[in-house]
Amino acid sequence: MPASPAHREAGRGRIAPIAIAVVVLAVLVALGAAVLAFRYPARAARFDVNARILAPLPAPTTRARLTSWNHPDSTGQFTWQLGDTAGTRFSPLGEITSDNVGRLQQTFTFDTGLKRGHEAAPLVVGTTMYITTPWPNDVYALDLAKPGAPIKWHYQPKPLPAAQGVACCDVVNRGAVYGGGKLYFNTLDGQTIALDAATGHEVWKVKLAEINRGETITMAPLLAEGRVLVGTSGGEMGVRGSLTALDAGSGAVVWKAYSTGPDKDVLIGPEFHPPYPAEQGKDLGVSTWNPDGWKIGGGNPWGWISYDPELHLIYYGTGNPGPWNALQRPGDNKWTAGIFARDVRTGQARWFYQSSPHDLFDYDDINESILVDLPIGGALHKVLIHPARTGFLMVIDRETGRVLSADPYSYINSMTGVDLRTGRPTMNPDKLPQSGRVTRDICPAAPGGKDWNPSSFSPLTGLIYIPHNNLCMDEGDVQTNYIAGTPFLGTEARMYAGPGANRGLFTAWDPVARRKVWEIREDLPVWSGALATAGNVVFYGTMDGWFKAVDARDGRLLWKQHLVSGIIGMPMSYRGPDGRQYVAIFAGVGGWAGGIVAGALDPGDPTTALGFVNAMKDLVKRTDAGGRLYVFALPR
């Protein structure tokens, strides 16, 4: 009932002090909120919640399981970036559990003194920890047996400074591999170096890339059957990709397989039996390109290699074709943006599957392939699980290369599905990039549903833990020019958050039931690797510097710690000389996603860093550049 004028007149005297108080209070609250909002932008808090449960955990009988030959190292050593050659990133150490992880404490830190992206995981062998850094690619050995883990030795390869100028997307390095008393790693300027792990002395050094042609190496080599496997980087510079097998003892080249060109260069011979017709034929690495296009066509295997010792096969992905502008390279552009299976002894290709034929959106196929066995229809299938850049989670028969299933784990509108009869993705005609005009809202964006940062698999839950992106982009093509040693792109992109406004996701996926079990929405792209442990804990980091432990079964946040810089590194776990379980992670934001901080890029230009900066404008306010290794353990 409206008050009469007289009433209001009479009431004014009494109400006034209360009103003033209310107004003052409101102003104070608003000010406080504004200060808080400035320090912690609202969107940061909005997604910082526990996982959304989407499906029940798989029953023990219908769980994906480790391959029969894969016995995780229970001594607690960590000798390869993906933990084992099956690429599971699973630690069999169970001292830290979902019940006690909340008490995790920092035990020591190590500063590299560098302020670029730190993507590598440290390795631990015996009582020594080995650390590789981004350019200038120094290697440190820390003595874990002594308090504070002092430096045992320090190796400086002194790579050419000019290599920084041809390294696409920060001067990162993805770490080393240990085997037979030696440590193998790559430098940005294209050298593979073997060090004596005990002394840090150089055993051999081989140059595999030429920076004047735009070639660099950022990947972590894999050691398999006495061969060190090294792939080139440079998909943005018109580099013809190749994978080289070096003799672990001497560094001599055993074989070298290119990703484009005639069959003899690609090591395609009588053993090659691709399952789909599009890969069958002679010299497709030449005929599926415009003339000469294959010579500058990319396909760099700069990502992860898995190895099946039973089949003697290695599995690795090839990068995007060059240039990005697809109008300048008609054809399927074999053998780029696909997965190769090769005999590790001879290098001969066994099968190939192309995830993105005639790639339009920089969907490199270099992501990890996790080798597991899946119980499907009562029988165990030898498969590889590949969360591809396209946004599809590919389950592929690792003996034949046939696709068993392809389901979106990320939001996709650039493709409508994968035809299981031909293996080919069906393209969405509305999202084709065009010359001189912009195609809007292409999902996933160029970094894909997931980029290089490896997932993890836990045999305890049968789930794959996928750290990934939720990004879309606008893209238009422009004519590009090839000049050796300069970029070869021809695409203008601008990225932004995908549906839901969160830019990252951390997803637990059941590969047997082919569905998400739970999912955590992260505000920023999740650019760190994942690690699952026998204690049912999964570790990952965020780009604003939070190192998180979540429950492997339901994604519940168990523990988190804020680190000095954003996290794009890979967590690892080891057993220390004292018998305790430790967890280590690098904080050091950078990479393609973090270039705005590590490279001090200008967000005023939305095409900066191939359009990624447009999606990361707020990162400068949320983290600083840095390079510090953190090691955590339970209190004694």
Binding site: A37, F38, P41, P161, A162, A163, Q164, G165, V166, A167, C168, C169, E236, S435, G436, R437, V438, D474, G476, D477, V478, T480, N481, I483, G485, T486, P487, F488, L489, E492, A493, R494, G595, G599, A600, L601, D602, P603, G604, D605, P606, T607, T608, A609, L610, V613, K617, D618, V620, K621
Partner: protein, 175 residues
């Protein structure tokens, strides 16, 4: 008012127009082969010239500068829109950087472009961050409509990076 003064008054706008036309004479001079004429004041001649800036913008795409430096925001290479210049901000410094390269990754373009083209590139690069006469700036975006043409952008001018200014920028960024 006498008819004479009225006529004079009418002439005034015409005279002004003529003056303004004269003022813009230099901005469009097209030198297809710069030569010794430029030896005296090369930097100024290239910097204030619309034709050279537009040519520089074209070359910025053709020589793949945009692959590393984007449209001035950087990427594989440092940003060019800010006031930080590792190797000096003068036209001469920039031309030297382009022609001879720099040790941390900038490749040398000496055998890839002519010296005149390097000056045109420098004129364009300079116009990204340093105040250039407005009527000489290119209104054309080289990218497919993804970015506003540079003239519509507010240009960052060389400035001492003060905390106050940074805070103000951050504030804008949060919105």
């Amino acid at each position: 008012m006498s008819s004479l003064s009225r006529a004079r008054l009418a002439l005034l706008p015409l005279a002004l127009l003529q003056l303004s036309l004269l003022a813009s004479c230099g901005r469009e001079t097209r030198d297809y082969r710069s030569n010794m004429l430029h030896a005296q004041n090369r930097a100024a001649d290239f910097r204030g010239n619309a034709y050279h800036i537009a040519q520089g913008q074209r070359l910025f795409g053709w020589m793949n500068c945009s692959g590393c430096h984007s449209h001035g925001g950087g990427g594989m290479g440092p940003p060019l829109r800010d006031a930080k210049w590792r190797y000096g901000s003068s036209m001469d410094n920039i031309v030297q950087t382009i022609l001879n390269g720099r040790p941390n990754g900038m490749p040398a373009f000496r055998a890839r472009i002519t010296e005149d083209q390097a000056w045109e590139l420098a004129a364009y690069v300079t116009s990204l961050s340093i105040r250039t006469r407005k009527d000489a700036l290119s209104a054309r975006g080289e990218e497919p409509a993804n970015v506003e043409p540079p003239t519509l952008d507010e240009r960052k001018n060389p400035r001492a990076v003060s905390g106050k200014q940074d805070a103000a920028e951050k504030k804008v960024g949060t919105q």
